[in-house]
Amino acid sequence: MSLLTTNYLTPTGREEAWRFTPLKRLAGLHDGSTKVADHISLSAKSALPNGVALTVADAAEHPASYTSTDVVTNRVREVVQKVSLLTIAKDVELSEPIHLSRKCSSTPEFSRVVIQAGVNSKSTVIVENTGNGELGEEIEINLAPGASLDLISLQEWDRNAVHLAQHHAIVSKDAQFTSYVVSVGGSVVRISPTVEFTGAGSFADLYGVYFATDGQHLEHRIHVNHNVPNAKSRVNYKGALAGDQAHTVWIGDVYIHKGADGTDTYELNRNLLLSDGARADSVPNLEIETGEIVGAGHASTTGRFDDEQLFYLQSRGIPADIARRLVIRGFFAEIINKLKSAELEERLMQRIDDELAKVGE
């Protein structure tokens, strides 16, 4: 193992960025002690359409396009020799999603993925994660001018998985990036969806759904960097928690730099506590260096299950367990329904039902 040369330190837990994370449960992904396997488990689930290619390329030929302050991202960059490169040619418009998946096993893996969406292309990319492994991941998403890309990241991990990731989008002029992060499995999941704009008229929509049960730690750290004029961003994350020691963390950092006139941003986080012993941390941060903006706001709420809703449904004959499931599905529907895939919606809702049924076992 080479000596690390990047300018970061192994986290101790006292850092602002790591104060919520249970470092002891990260299997050494954060401090370099883990031995990672030299393999790439990401693959296309079905044949790729014309104009789309998934290749394994030399990491040296695809250096990172941005500076990351994330410890794990820097370790990933330090270690990987190969990157998974997904390219979508210019002007390609896809009606069906590009479906990628990886199943992790007991051997820890570091994965660097680069997605390049060509000029005026339009696509949806699904990255599906299953299994019980340990994964350090960086996904770099480059959207060329006028490109539109939806990235759906699914954490359908088994119970012992550890997943630390940064998903960084570079959104250029008139490009539209939409991110969906769904975390419904794993022991520790810590994902940082980060966005920077490089041209005016760009747009980023960041959605998330998470459901944590007994002992699970699910953390999502959003960072949107408004550094150009007339860009727009929306953030909406919804989470539910049930069972002892279920813990979720949501950090929403939005920076509006000097000169980012005409910025329009709003971020929202809602948490639903279904039982005692669960804890939801929610920290929205908005920093504004220019007054010449269209709008900037944030909201965060964490509330208990509404007994009035339960009573109303039960009073119509619906048994308590089904009523609870209906209310929870309803809570997530606002975001899950945006996935525009009935099959995927049902699969994720079913997983949430199943997780809920296991609480307290």
Binding site: R316, I318, I322, R329, G330
Partner: protein
Amino acid sequence: MGPNGSGKSTLAYSIAGHPKYLITGGSVTLDGADVLEMTVDERAKAGLFLAMQYPVEVPGVSVSNFLRTAVTAIRGEAPKVRTWVGEVKEAMASLNIDTAFSERNVNEGFSGGEKKRHEILQMELLKPKIAILDETDSGLDVDALRIVSEGVNRVKANSELGVMLITHYTRILRYIKPDFVHVFANGKIVEEGGPELADKLEEKGYAEYITA
């Protein structure tokens, strides 16, 4: 009938099993079965229905999904898709409810009149034995009052439904003819009579029943 604060809604919610009430004495039976021993959903399955004064919003749950889930629970089996769609459409049409209503979330953004019509729609589909209508007339304009009242009369005519109608006003009694009128004050029934009692209340008010 009874004045504000007399306990009419408390009685209704207690019978339905709202968790914020604890019943410390007395009994409630339906066809001989002890209602107080039942969970809220069991009461509904036994044939009890409460049309609420303030129906609750359930975000993200569509009216069609809600109705189907409720009917499945009450009838003990999922309704046949073919007949179900028609059944809902017909019930909605007779209550002057637009079919687009099915796709809206339960009570979310409904007007006062829409909420009340939605309550009666549920009653029509769930076919209870006894329905408690808690101030179903409040907040309704003349047209909505007529449509809702006709809905109640229709369900009553087509089934063995018994109705306990809670109201302040005699206005709704022009459309729904009571067999009995009970005056409720300070948590107790203080007078009973036929429809003529309602006329007397309209004229004289509740003053004589409210003791200091």
